[in-house]
């Protein structure tokens, strides 16, 4: 019988230290979806083109479908499920996606929101064109992106105003 190679991967997912044995060929998408049932991580192309599987790894966005699960060793990973507050409160960017009607079928939404988190956490102010560029790694067929950009831009302005 062919022997599958497994490796123990220890990492932090949504603030919780975890460990599991993974098939060394598995992608991070596979590990997050199958082993941890974090199903906000979506599969749209599995070759890093659509952005639906995007997660934050040590604060930086990656398409988890082209990131090996074993590379997650020691990393801090955040998915959409990790954005809720301790009592289930929505984060400002999640609320903005609701308020700006930025959600339609919802399949690209988790990936977009995680990139929005990366953008917002820089604390910088971006122009609308800069935001367009920063969000361009995600494909959406429902919204024409209009309300998604509005949601990110408005949340950015609110956060910047709160800092002042």
């Amino acid at each position: 019988m062919h022997e599958v190679q497994y490796k123990l991967v220890k990492c932090t997912i949504n603030g919780r230290p975890v460990q599991t044995m993974v098939d060394v060929r598995a992608s991070l998408t596979d590990m997050l979806r199958n082993d941890y049932r974090l199903t906000s991580v979506k599969k749209g192309c599995e070759v890093g083109e659509c952005g639906a599987c995007n997660v934050l790894i040590d604060g930086e966005c990656f398409n988890s479908c082209i990131y090996l699960a074993v590379w997650a060793e020691g990393k801090n990973i955040r998915t959409l499920e990790g954005l809720l507050g301790p009592n289930g409160e929505l984060s400002d960017i999640q609320q903005a996606f609701i308020d700006e009607t930025a959600v339609q079928c919802g399949f690209c939404t988790p990936g977009f929101i995680m990139t929005a988190v990366e953008i917002l956490e820089t604390g910088k102010e971006y122009t609308r064109d800069e935001l367009r560029k920063l969000l361009s790694g995600h494909l959406c067929r429902c919204t024409g992106y209009e309300n998604i950009i509005n949601a990110v831009e408005n949340t950015m302005h609110k956060r910047l105003a709160a800092k002042k």
Binding site: R33, V47, T101, Q104, F107, L131, R132, S136
Partner: protein
Amino acid sequence: MSVGESIRRVDALDKVTGRAKYTDDLADKCVLVAKILHSNIAHGIVKKIDTSAAEAIEGVVKIVTCFDVPPYRFPTAGHPWSTDPHHQDVQDRVLLTQHVRFYGDDVAAVIAENEVAASQAVRAIQVEYEELPFVLDAQRAMEPDAPLLHEAYPNNILGHTNIRKGDYEAAIKEPGLIKVEGWYETPTVQHCHIENNISYAYQEGQRITVVASTQIPHIVRRIVGQALGIPWGDVRIIKPYIGGGFGNKQDALYEPLCAFLCTQVGGRCVKLDVSREETFVSNRVRHGIRSHIISYLRPDGSFAARKLECFSNQGAYASHGHGIAAKGMGAFPQLYPCDNLECDAYSVFTNRPVAGAMRGYGIPQAMFANESHIDDICRVLQMDPIEFRRKNMMPVGYVDGFSKNENYVDSLGQCIEKGKEYIDYDRKREEYAKDTGPVRRGIGMAIFWYNTAVWPISLETSSCRMVLNQDGSIQLQMGETEIGQGSDTAFAQMAAETLGIPVEQVHIISSQDTDLTPFGLGSYASRQTYVGGFAIRQTALLMKQRIQQYASEMTRVAPFDIDIVDGNILRTTDGRVLMTLGDLATEAIYSLTHSQHITSESTYQIKNNAYSFGCGFAEVEVDIPLCKVRILNIINVHDCGRLINPALAEAQVHGGMSMGIGFGMSEQLLFDEKTGKTLNDNLLDYKLSTTMDHPDLVARFVENFEPTSAYGTKSLGEPPAVPGAPALRNAILHATGVAVNTLPLNPHTLFAQFKEEGLL
């Protein structure tokens, strides 16, 4: 009041938290995985399949080939079934085929313990073909010596319909007429919903349950039954949240095959998750249509006679059949009525991926041809395109003889006015005409009309169920499906409005389960808010009657003096609140004298249709040496009747505009002439718009309530995708004087055209 308000989507919370479950999220981790072996030739006969090497791969459970499937031929189109055999969809598919008709056809399937084993086994299967010549072009396929795809269809013509009105040949002899002629071509494009088609199937007893990402669960139930040759009641389809559809999932795709594979492994759960590459090649695409238009005009700008020929590339199988080309042709004489017409539309089989339904169902192709041609006419006559349209477009009072649709008010004129004002058309039209340098600006527009639902071509019916809970809230169940467009939210608003309860008290069940959900046809033809509205209003009125009756029993107030307002039972004579609906519902259920679970359910068959109208304006900057177009401004204006939820309507228009821009500027599937292989079957090489590819999208509305509608609304799902491409093409014409008649308007197309016209 709830209809007309921009309430938040009912599913938004679950979708921004990742709690919303889609098909793959629900599948058991231990499912068997199925993979399909697709043909690597465009046309041929499978002679032999050697599966021995594949079977030896560890983890392979079963291999099924085209020699092992049931003999039943089935249709795939997501149409209501017709009990009249002459109106039934073409039944030309089998689960796996011995006669492969396009590069990517389905030859065999592997079921394995895991995805890796299944993929390895697919690669290890040896297929021996007898290759046949193939044809990729629709007009070439009609020639007598072209390879034949289906024996029952000589010259590969799946369908040919025509319109004859007046006497075209006589009319063109009128002295002093000006002839304008053009050929217009639209490419094959794909839906590109972000969730690929996926299904998984398992058996309970003899019955098969298929959980699937589909727009049409009740229709898929029937087709799975037909394909497997089993009673339709033995099939149960469950549709959870789906990641977009746009018409691709208005076909039975691989649900029948998935169900069959499940029966081949003793009913164990089998998952068939289609890759992005397979979505591009082996699902459905939009018909590429070549249109030829001749118009004869009088010098005053009126039409004397018109001729239209459309050649629609059907690909290898019938799917939705000739309906798409026929619909496109039907739009032509209604948008600009003319007394003398000769129109012919052909749907032609070719050895290309199968064309089916896609947002707009033939109208984006038809309007590109039609509205481009109008601007060509205006150039010849030196008339302003808006002035010409106002003179010739469908007049107020126009009634279509077939659909009985009526143009009640000057919707088109009002939409044009709104768009024109927003984009500052008149000033820019004049100013940009002066541009002469290498970078020039232009402004263009296009109008359209669209049907609502499919009556009278096919059945229109909708069913609804309401169940009253103890607290006065209700469950609402519809056979019509939420696929991202927001119909669940609109339905909840309608139910709340008629029942007189707050919208938060309406719990709509988003998922359809053919065992539990009332019959509905699903999401297509921009039908759901219109047809669903009838069923909701009727069912809510039934429910209200029962509540009034029960309230009367409790209070001795006459039922006709009782109303429900904001969740309270009211005596209408003096406005006194008698009790809350919750109090009534609790009593009704637990009463020791008369216990009643108050529910209502009804079906409404809709024998109406409605014209939806709109227009698009686009402003562009064309860099002639680079052959690049930058869109400076773009707006759609729609009259879809009353807006049930203005914010959702606007969002729907944004998405359609983006799809229209992609169709106009960048999207096209390319095929290798030598092999028939699809060359760009991925999201890198297929140019779907990103956040950087268009400017801010502007959506505006004119609200003329539709008189035939239960809530004043009519179609908006598909129309937004229609006017973008012709408006952009006409803007480029205005900027450069070059009429580009082939989509997409990318640098490849523009370079050839600019060169030919001497701009380069």
